[in-house]
């Protein structure tokens, strides 16, 4: 059974179903919504033993075989490890969402996007094809954008969403270029085949491809200097922040690096980039977290720090780094998601999540307090939590390097880890203390609206408990869950034995010292915050980003005023003359094709001469017209004669289309000009001469192109094929339609995409301030009893217009 594809289809299909169910009407929906991800989680758990034996499940589906595009899925240790986090945490988040959005009518839309995200994320980690991975990757970017912008009337939300989208999709495009380079070099986009390709690390394109892929991974996983979009993404509703911007999506970049690790990690480029970028991001995020009094912003910076840690750990090819990596990923998902969820509960119950206004919540919501304390212990790395295990393993990695004489890397890593860790301890203790235990808030104490129900707290508590007791029982599942994941990252099978207690090793003592100093940072928190407030904002990467985007807008504006600032006629002339220039060039540098041009002219029949004459008359009438209205109608005559041509040559579909377009445009132009009294229809002779020249040149252009097309044939005509196969392959006797919707479906899809974008563009124009001003004027005119609603008699218009001439 194609279980992997089926899981994705279930998630993609449940998205619109949940939307249509109008979930805000009942809390029972919480259970229902958690069902699909929970079921997939159970299925994945059942696969653990099989995968642990080194087997994997692979499914491949042809997508566009002629393009070499396929949907390839592969469930190996790493995919399963991440997949379990995605659906497991996903089930908790889905449950929580029903409580968070209780009674909110847009809850259904939130579920729609949330499930769409879950399916994309799962597809991303299960993908075994770079292009498949890329498509799902973009899917997560877009759903993330929609979730951040959920509160669309709040400016911070839309700004944050746009920033996140621009940064991650820009990185995604760079990554796509890197993937294409890799794929073309290997001759396949299949990830397993690329990783297995001999000497792929030594290939000449590899450094370029890697740097491009790094850009994708670093933007997605909020690495320095792209980390700024993540705090901005905190404008998203809390379930989305907990899920996308902490537990899953931001780990996509880290996941990709882990995926590519076996083939490329031996390169110095790989090691130094990941080590330095990851390490710096870790310190930056860890140290700045304490500065923020918004609970979610504080947690966001702590997330940045962990992402940096993960990237740094992937630089290494050693046992402790691998172990630290997988344990950190799991531990982080199990403590950071509950912390976010708790922040959401506090926000929900108190109407704010600003630490300055909170105090003493432990009494009002003891379960939430317990959750936060347990999660904070894990985040601080207090024994015996999973966070402790993660930190221990990371420090051990640095220590091993030190012991083996690599003082630079080991020392840097050790120092950076400790520095980040102690500030993060300070930050999380600050959060827990100020919100839940101190007696008095700093300013404007918030009041409890309503205490959270147990169901609201349950998902967070469940995840925290897993993260707390998980370390105790690591022996039960370490070789089922962690070892296969490590095997996929390292490229070779492995077994592991995690231990909570190693005795009083130097690493353990360092860890203890970090916690102690962290508590010291907590004690001095106000001084630390003040020190941060003194740092100028000017050099932050956010400021650089904003300046860049401003510069792009400015440039676009300048460019547009230069090339499109003039009235319409000169602009159109430039476009037309450019086309003419191409033809003239081709004629002056003739090839064999143009020389046969004049030999093969056919004499048209009388009927055709008549239609020609009609068209020419119409064109002349247009030029000679004394009013815009008669010009428009004469132009319509020309269009109709073209329609007649199509009928004469037996192309009813083209004729129909042309006729409709002609009618629509004529009516439209009449609609516009009929009611508007135009400027005088006079112009000076010089302009007229220029336009005459453009018109004649354009006629020459059209004539030449048609004739050349007519007499030259490059290769064999495809028309007989279409005519012959239209019914047998396309099941239709209208060949034009079969070509449009079947044989040339890609073309049509591209065209309607453009049409759809044009519709959106028109919609955006409608919402632009200028149009609003116009509409307001109409309304004002109507209410004032002016005759704006009843246009002045068209006859009168015409009369005045002629009078001008």
């Amino acid at each position: 059974m194609p279980a992997l594809a089926l899981s994705l289809v279930i998630l993609f299909v449940s998205a619109p179903i949940f939307w249509l169910l109008k979930p805000h009407r009942s809390l029972w929906f919480a259970w229902l919504s958690a069902l699909p991800p929970a079921a997939i989680t159970v299925w994945q758990v059942l696969q653990l033993p099989t995968v642990a034996q080194g087997n994997f499940i692979a499914e491949r589906y042809a997508w566009a075989p002629t393009l070499g595009l396929e949907l390839a899925l592969r469930l190996d240790g790493l995919a399963l490890f991440f997949g379990l986090i995605i659906t497991g945490v996903g089930a908790c988040i889905a449950f929580y969402t029903a409580y968070y959005f209780e009674g909110e009518p847009r809850q259904g839309f939130f579920y729609l996007v949330l499930y769409g995200f879950m399916a994309s994320m799962l597809g991303l980690v299960w993908a075994d094809d770079l292009l498949t991975l890329f498509i799902f990757w973009e899917g997560t970017s877009i759903t993330s954008y929609l979730l951040i912008a959920f509160k669309s009337d709040y400016k911070g939300a839309t700004e944050g969403a746009r920033r996140a989208l621009i940064v991650t999709t820009a990185g995604g495009l760079a990554m796509l270029a890197g993937m294409v380079l890799l794929g073309l070099h290997v001759g396949s986009f299949n990830i397993s085949e690329i990783l297995a390709a001999p000497d792929i690390a030594a290939a000449s394109i590899t450094p370029v491809a890697l740097v491009l892929i790094f850009l994708g991974a670093f933007t997605k996983s909020a690495q320095f200097p792209f980390q700024f979009w993540l705090p901005g993404a905190m404008a998203a509703p809390t379930p989305a922040s907990a899920y996308l911007h902490s537990a899953t999506m931001v780990k996509a970049g880290v996941f990709l690096l882990a995926r590519l690790h076996p083939a490329f990690s031996e390169l110095p480029l790989w090691f130094w980039t990941l080590f330095l970028v990851g390490g710096f991001t870790m310190v930056l995020g860890g140290v700045s977290a304490i500065r923020y009094t918004d609970m979610k912003a504080l947690l966001a910076y702590a997330t940045v720090a962990v992402l940096g840690t993960l990237v740094m750990l992937l630089a290494f090819r050693e046992k402790y780094a691998y172990e630290a990596f997988v344990v950190t990923v799991l531990a982080h998902a199990l403590y950071k998601a509950p912390l976010f969820l708790s922040a959401g509960i506090v926000d929900h119950a108190m109407g704010t999540r600003d630490l300055r206004r909170l105090a003493n919540l432990a009494r009002a919501m003891p379960l939430v307090a317990a959750t936060v304390v347990l999660a904070a212990l894990s985040m601080s790395g207090v024994i015996p939590t999973m966070g402790f295990l993660a930190k221990e393993l990371m420090l051990e990695q640095g220590f091993q390097r030190l012991e083996h004489g690599d003082g630079l890397v080991g020392g840097l890593m050790y120092a950076a880890s400790v520095l980040a860790a102690l500030f993060m301890v300070g930050a999380i203790v600050t959060l827990a203390w100020e919100a839940f235990f101190r007696r008095q808030a700093d300013e404007h104490p918030a009041h409890l609206h309503h205490a959270p129900s147990p169901g609201f707290v349950a998902p967070a508590l469940l995840l925290t408990l897993l993260g707390t007791v998980g370390a105790f029982f690591a022996g039960a599942y370490e070789n089922l869950l962690f070892a296969p994941a490590i095997a996929a990252i390292a490229g070779e099978p492995t077994t592991l034995q995690l231990k909570l207690w190693h005795g009083l090793t130097p690493v353990f003592l360092t860890s203890l010292a970090a916690i102690a100093v962290g508590v010291g940072v907590f004690a001095l928190r106000n001084r630390v915050r003040r020190a941060f407030a003194a740092v100028p904002e000017k050099f932050s990467s956010l400021a650089v980003y904003d300046a860049t985007i401003d510069a792009i807008y400015h440039f676009a504006y300048r460019l547009t005023t230069v090339i499109q600032g003039s009235p319409m006629a000169p602009q159109v002339s430039v476009t037309l003359l450019a086309g003419v220039a191409v033809v003239v060039y081709a004629l002056f540098f003739p090839t064999a094709r143009t020389s046969v041009l004049l030999d093969s002219l056919e004499i048209p029949s009388i009927a055709e001469w008549l239609i020609f004459a009609l068209a020419i008359l119409g064109a002349l009438a247009t030029v000679r017209a004394r009013s815009r209205l008669s010009a428009i109608i004469s132009l319509g005559v020309v269009g109709i004669t073209v329609t007649i041509f199509f009928i004469v040559f037996g192309a009813p579909d083209l004729a129909l289309t042309q006729l409709l377009i002609e009618v629509l445009t004529v009516i439209l132009l009449v609609l516009v000009f009929f009611r508007v009294r135009p400027d005088p229809f006079i112009e000076d002779d010089r302009r007229r001469a220029f336009r005459l020249f453009v018109a004649i040149a354009m006629g020459f252009f059209g004539f030449t192109v048609v004739m050349v097309n007519h007499v030259t044939q490059i290769g064999e005509s495809i028309s007989p094929y279409f005519l012959e196969k239209s019914y047998s392959l396309g099941k239709g006797t209208n060949v034009v339609n079969v070509i449009l919707v079947d044989f040339r479906g890609y073309d049509t899809l591209g065209e309607i995409t453009v049409l759809g974008l044009a519709a959106l563009g028109g919609y955006a124009l409608l919402r632009s301030p200028q149009i609003h001003k116009l509409r307001r004027r109409i309304v004002a005119a109507r209410s004032a009893g002016e005759d704006g609603a009843h246009p002045v008699s068209p006859m009168k218009h015409e009369a005045t217009e002629v009078g001008h001439d």
């Binding site: 589906y61 042809a62 997508w63 566009a64 075989p65 002629t66 595009l69 949907l71 009813p652 579909d653 129909l656 289309t657 409709l660 377009i661 009618v663 629509l664 009516i667 439209l668 609609l671 516009v672 009611r675 508007v676 009294r677 396309g730 099941k731 239709g732 006797t733 209208n734 034009v736 339609n737 079969v738 449009l740 919707v741 079947d742 479906g745 049509t748 899809l749 309607i752 049409l755 759809g756 044009a758 519709a759 959106l760 028109g762 919609y763 124009l765 409608l766 149009i771 116009l774 509409r775 004027r777 109409i778 005119a781 002016e786 005759d787 704006g788 609603a789 246009p791 002045v792 068209p794």
Partner: protein, 155 residues
Amino acid sequence: MIEIYLRLVDKILTPVIFLIAIFLFLRGHDMPGGGFIAGLVAASAIELTILARGAQATRDRYGPWAVPLAGAGLTIAVGAALLGMYNGGFFRSIWLEFSMAGEKLKFGTPQLFDLGVMFVVVGMAITYLLRLGEAAEAAVTEQTRLERQREDRHR
């Protein structure tokens, strides 16, 4: 004056034009017609309504449909193409053929795709027709206002 009989025409003819659009769409795979043409025909019905009732009233009737229709059209088109993956790849067609009451009927993903094309065309047409219609109305209002001012000053 002109609007009164146009309103009558609109009332009678608009439903008929929509029916013609559906007719053209349904016959499109075998006879002249199809999604693109049907979409344009439906657009002309909307244009008639704009002429008869003004852009504002037309917006109230059709405006909210424009962008969702275009979006739904694109989704349907991509969905129809994706269904083809059952048959070996993106855009591979799937046909169901059966006969009912002596008539041979067939349904296929290309027709579904064509439906998407029609929706996109209609959605785009509504957006632009309304926009241009409103711009024209606004310009008329503005012009009338300026003229009045000028006349007042002459007096």
